[in-house]
Symmetry: C2
Subunit: 314 residues, 2 copies
Amino acid sequence: MNRVTKLFKIKYPIIQGGMVWCSGWKLASSVSNAGGLGIIGSGSMRPLVLKEHIKKCKEATNKPFAVNLPLLYSHIEDHLNIIINEDVKIVFTSAGSPNKYTSKLKNRGIIVVHVVSSLKFAKKCEDAGVDAIVCEGFEAGGHNGIDETTSFCLIPKISDNIKLPLIAAGGIYDARSMFAAMILGAEGVQIGSRFAVCNESSAHRFFKEHVLNANEGDTILTLKEITPVRLLKNDFFTKILKAYDRKASLNELKDLLAKGRAKKGIFDGDLVEGELEIGQVSSMINKIQSAKEIINEIISEYNKIVQLKGYEIF
Amino acid sequence: MNRVTKLFKIKYPIIQGGMVWCSGWKLASSVSNAGGLGIIGSGSMRPLVLKEHIKKCKEATNKPFAVNLPLLYSHIEDHLNIIINEDVKIVFTSAGSPNKYTSKLKNRGIIVVHVVSSLKFAKKCEDAGVDAIVCEGFEAGGHNGIDETTSFCLIPKISDNIKLPLIAAGGIYDARSMFAAMILGAEGVQIGSRFAVCNESSAHRFFKEHVLNANEGDTILTLKEITPVRLLKNDFFTKILKAYDRKASLNELKDLLAKGRAKKGIFDGDLVEGELEIGQVSSMINKIQSAKEIINEIISEYNKIVQLKGYEIF
């Protein structure tokens, strides 16, 4: 038990990242049933779809689960009402200011966690009264911060200066990386990419197989002028590069991204025209497992390595 | 003792990165005398200057030390001859192919270590017969790889696929980050930024003080078209941005960088016009110490945390 497992009332301090087009009720409930914290990623859901996923998640697990809420999302008020009406106990907010909705959620007794990529925003979270923080390093997939701070530098920076429980994200996919994150000051880890390609992820089979084949250097953080996003390089990325070459305006870049690219890539499996959001660790992921297998494998290996007496003294 | 301390015959697996305008004989010998491996950074030295630094280093320590040799350097053949004639025992090569000089050096009984930023190049090192590898993550200061792979992803990727002793660089500055790197698969660490601002570094006082004041997000990896380099954002960096804005040619970019910028920034302390190479961890470094204090502090804390019985089992 540590502050993260206590806060969420979960067995293992492994949180499954809320990911558009990957993490519906099926993935979230599987992770929660396996002792971690599953998160429904609401960023790719219309309000009624979110409502259905929450209902199904409650039917599929009696363990705690959460909903991820990107604060810049257009249906935000509807989503908030559904989260409150459906009695969701934990909300992970991201992509926006923690000031805006934290007190509204906390007044309803909801646990609020905010995702940051810098100490500056972590301090804002503390001021806003959130219960815990996820710090997301440069290596993480999907949307990311502008400072490009990696997990090696971000985790100690935040844990040294913030008293709230800290969950590390970015570059974490196995027992070693989980232990390394804990050594650097985290009390829990958020794993995205590995769950994005697990059995229960709603991502398209083509997307999952493509991720399994990803090599080092295949992802890149791009579109920093709009909202930085890490994705696999493909034809769509070449289009982004061409847009940069012709000095496209911010609006042109937004238009380029807006055409349902993430759905196309991740959910429809269009590897050419779609936006293929995934982390740098994709180059280390080489099999599709169930969420339960992933968690059991990580925890069993983790418990072995933390108990090793073999760490050398110099 | 592990393979890194055995290979170099040193007490602690802490290597001081070879850094232009920072690591002359004074820094290298101090690190070696303190039980680590000091490295003379030859990239900023003319042949006769290098010769003098090697001679002085031998006078200042009877412990092993190394010379770093950037392979794209113009005086490379002269440097090689000096290294061989002066009976230097260990050479760290970087910025070039390990094929070119490894066998020449090894035939003279010199230990060869090559610096890489990807598994692809690590495999080339193995084929070339080097004795150990330094893997340098995206967060590292100075010259860097094009894949932008962070230490969290690079260390396990290489240690899983390469049998040679692995030294991790990038994001490492204290006991926690050293232990995290070891957990991820390294057998030693190379520390740059913290030694760049220590007493024995030949960097200008203005540069050192500026680094102590650096905050998160203050460094950036830029000039990726020529040779990616991580530096502190300043007026010189603004000039780079303006050059990009006007779609400057590669030659223009090279000219911009070539004007003794690194010397100006690091050695002359020109914080406006100089190139201020440093790693992301600069935001965590807040005091100027001696090399010995740094090593003693890291090792003493490291030995404490590796012996902790408090790592939680889940």
